[in-house]
């Protein structure tokens, strides 16, 4: 035991991993654990940057085999067309199976009712579509790209996040998660949401996209778009959202930090048109990605916790 001055060796040993290598190794381990412990997993893919990282991690975990699970997109019908096109190209290139669960189908079947008015969004309706699809396909584990740095409730969530047969999350009754020993035991009808990149930050994701030279949908880079201001955020004008009095569209150079439904995802002013410029912009940014661009989290202090309890992503 010492209290005196410390001398530090600055040369690093050969047997050292970078933080991205360590995070990647952990995520690959988690994915293989799910493939081994569950009978019918599924990977939830939105076309956003986090799920693009998940797809690469699945390649790293399972190649030269196919993924031992399909990929599923919960399609609100209000997605950015650039993102939907990107989704189809990526899945096709990887040769994996894509399931599209459609919120429109849930509306047509009377499972959910469409909201009306200028603030109408299909964000919350997705939960029913997702849970119905999980039940229909008998999925027992669903990978998601959520990260603990995104939001307060998520900071408390386990990597293996248990859902009861109503799809509900009970934050006060979570299984302890020790070492790398993940308890995937469930009963029929229950399922587990699995978050392999729980320990990644927004910056880690962008650094990894750069390291792996992964493509992302074009809307993550600065582009000129017609937008309008609402609640301090910039929304793309589009057919799914009604303008309110005083909202005047204008042209601006923007990019998206997150990719969700067009009705609740805001853009940020930006001129960052390359990956390096985006990383530099994030390093200098002083506002969280969800705080800046997601209306769905602004409803209340516990908006995410409440939606997660119901079975949201």
């Amino acid at each position: 035991m010492t209290t005196g001055p410390h001398t530090h060796v600055t040369t690093r040993s050969t047997y050292e991993l970078s933080h991205l290598q360590a995070l990647e190794a952990e995520a690959i381990y988690i994915m293989r654990e799910v493939a081994a412990q569950f009978e019918r997993p599924v990977l939830l893919f939105s076309g956003g940057k986090d799920s693009i990282v998940l797809m690469r991690l699945a390649e790293k975990a399972f190649r030269p085999s196919r993924f031992p699970f399909p990929v599923m997109h919960v399609d609100t019908g209000h997605n950015f067309p650039e993102v939907t096109a990107f989704r189809d190209q990526l899945v096709e290139r990887l040769g994996e199976r894509l399931i599209v669960a459609s919120v429109q189908d849930s509306i047509d079947a009377g499972r959910v009712r469409e909201q009306t008015g200028p603030r109408a969004s299909r964000n919350r309706l997705q939960t029913t579509t997702l849970l119905d699809a999980i039940a229909e396909h008998w999925f027992d584990a669903a990978f998601g790209g959520a990260r603990r740095d995104e939001e307060r409730a998520r900071a408390k969530e386990r990597v293996f996040s248990f859902r009861d047969d109503f799809g509900q999350w009970d934050p006060k009754n979570q299984r302890p998660e020790l070492w790398a020993l993940y308890n995937g035991r469930i009963r029929r009808g229950e399922h587990v949401r699995v978050f392999p990149i729980s320990n990644w930050t927004e910056m880690d994701v962008w650094q990894y996209l750069a390291q792996e030279r992964l493509e992302v949908p074009s809307i993550y880079y600065a582009h000129t778009r017609e937008v309008f201001a609402r609640d301090g955020m910039l929304y793309a004008t589009n057919e799914h959202i009604q303008l309110m009095d005083g909202e005047v569209p204008f042209q601006a150079s923007v990019r998206y930090r997150t990719v969700g439904d067009m009705t609740c995802t805001g853009a940020v002013r930006s001129t960052a048109s390359t990956l390096a410029e985006v990383v530099a912009e994030i390093a200098a940014n002083r506002i969280t990605e969800r705080g800046e661009t997601r209306a769905d989290d602004r409803v209340s202090d516990a908006a995410m916790e409440d939606r997660k309890r119901e079975g949201y992503f």
């Binding site: 060796v9 293989r32 975990a61 409730a153 910056m203």
Partner: protein, 437 residues
């Protein structure tokens, strides 16, 4: 190739009183890891609650119940980074050289005795633990409990942060008395690297920057220590331990005969040609290749996730362990272990549980409880009949099938297990193997 830096997992335990939240808040704030909307939210909530100050504990209390009750219930994970990991370096440096800075994952756990299980959970994956001592009060029951858990969980590095030095006039004598008292008591523990840092989280003394108020202290600030403590040598690089997680058999035309064993290296350095033992069968063979998505590797070491191909065609499945031929692990069904009980339902002596050890699942019967440890005094109660929630004790277990184990002191992966109640599927205990046969 992006700039790279290391990952350090830190566990902190403590309650509001000893300034833990202030310390974490200070680290996050001074490394610019709290963003404006988060800070504004905390400030607004503090005011609404009438806290009278910006209550940084609200940053980590993520659940509605925690905010309502003003307590930390569960482990919260916080992330911050310095230097290259913070993304300030350019993306295309062309070399994978370390440029300083680290990424930190802080498992922030409540410190009270009724949350021992959360502390154990946070500690299980930590490289370093920070134990806080209030300089006015010296070594407390809570200090001893946290140090014991650090020792029990074999966290390789401990920082004893003697906080609130501003309230004892930055007294060297006070600091040294605490160091002496702690050091004397800690001889009973298995702590390998202990550093003492006098600081004031509130004033920022010795947290990020060295303090002018304590010229008698020649050591580093807390952040400097966290950035520079050497963790690469913490792992056992000598004896290979590779639990088989997943068998890769594509069975496609292109890879018709491919058979690989995927897993994460738990110890040792693996090279093509390395002689290995497959356990529990005991068959010997050599590593033919180390495969990854990015191509074959010349060596693999902890904690890399790789796929091994072997020279001989041996029947291997999930739960088997590939080990170095020298100093192999123990194949055993009888285990002596320390367990921390994590369930509201007390331990049932003679009870049957599911056991998960590395990638192997089996059944286990708890034959008997040898003793219960008083986590505050380290006294052993050999008359205890059971373990209740948050209690720690030594048990004897029998497994339904052979497990391939090491003592936990030797390897945290092959030495640890969890017990699961088969009726509820809840994880009810965390175990650390002392010996096996």
């Amino acid at each position: 190739m992006p700039a790279v830096s290391e990952l350090l997992r830190v566990a902190t335990a403590g309650s509001v009183d000893d300034g833990k939240s202030t310390l974490i808040g200070r680290l996050l704030h001074d490394t610019k890891s709290i963003l404006e909307d988060q800070l504004a939210h905390v400030a607004e909530t503090s005011e609404r609650r009438g806290d009278g100050y910006v209550n940084l504990a609200l940053l980590t209390d993520g659940l509605r119940a925690e905010r309502e009750q003003g307590i930390t219930i569960d482990v919260a994970y916080r992330y911050f980074q310095t230097g290259a990991a913070a993304g300030t370096a350019t993306l295309d440096t062309g070399a994978a050289s370390f440029q300083g800075g680290r990424k930190f994952i802080i498992a922030d756990t409540p410190g009270h005795e009724q949350y021992t299980r959360n502390m154990v959970t946070g500690a299980s994956t930590a490289d370093l633990s920070i134990v806080l001592i209030d300089a006015r009060h010296g070594v407390s029951e809570q200090t001893r409990r946290h140090a014991y858990i650090t020792s029990l969980l074999r966290i390789p590095h401990l920082v004893v942060a003697v906080n609130k030095m501003d309230l004892v006039d930055y007294s060297q004598e006070t600091f040294e008395a605490i160091v002496a008292e702690f050091t004397d008591w800690a001889t009973r523990l298995a702590l390998s690297d202990v550093s003492f840092i006098p600081l004031s989280a509130l004033r920022g003394d010795n947290v990020v920057e060295r303090s002018d108020s304590m010229p008698w202290y020649q050591g580093p600030s807390l952040l400097y220590h966290l950035e520079h403590v050497v963790i690469a040598t913490d792992r056992d690089m000598d004896d290979v331990r590779f639990p088989v997680q997943w068998v890769v058999r594509p069975m496609s035309d292109e890879h018709h005969d491919y058979r690989g064993y995927a897993g994460q290296v738990a110890a040792g350095v693996i090279r093509p040609g390395s002689e290995v033992l497959v356990l529990p069968s005991g068959r010997r063979t050599r590593v033919a290749a180390i495969d990854t998505y990015d191509g074959a590797l010349e060596l693999a070491f902890p904690t890399m996730s790789v796929t091994l191909r072997l020279e001989d065609d041996i029947d291997i499945s999930r739960g088997d362990l590939i080990a170095g031929a020298d100093e192999p692990p123990i194949v055993a069904r009888d285990l002596e272990a320390m367990v921390c009980w994590m369930s509201e339902q007390p331990m049932r002596a003679g009870g049957r549980y599911a056991i998960h050890h590395t990638t192997r699942a089996a059944k286990a019967i708890i034959d008997r409880l040898e003793y219960r440890v008083d986590v505050n005094t380290l006294e052993r109660d050999t008359d205890a009949g059971t373990l209740e929630l948050n209690e720690i004790g030594r048990v004897h277990l029998r497994s339904s099938t052979p497990l391939v184990v090491d003592p936990y002191a030797r390897n945290r992966t092959t030495g640890s297990f969890i017990l699961i109640d088969e009726a509820t599927n809840d994880t009810v205990a965390a175990g650390m193997i002392r010996s096996a046969r």
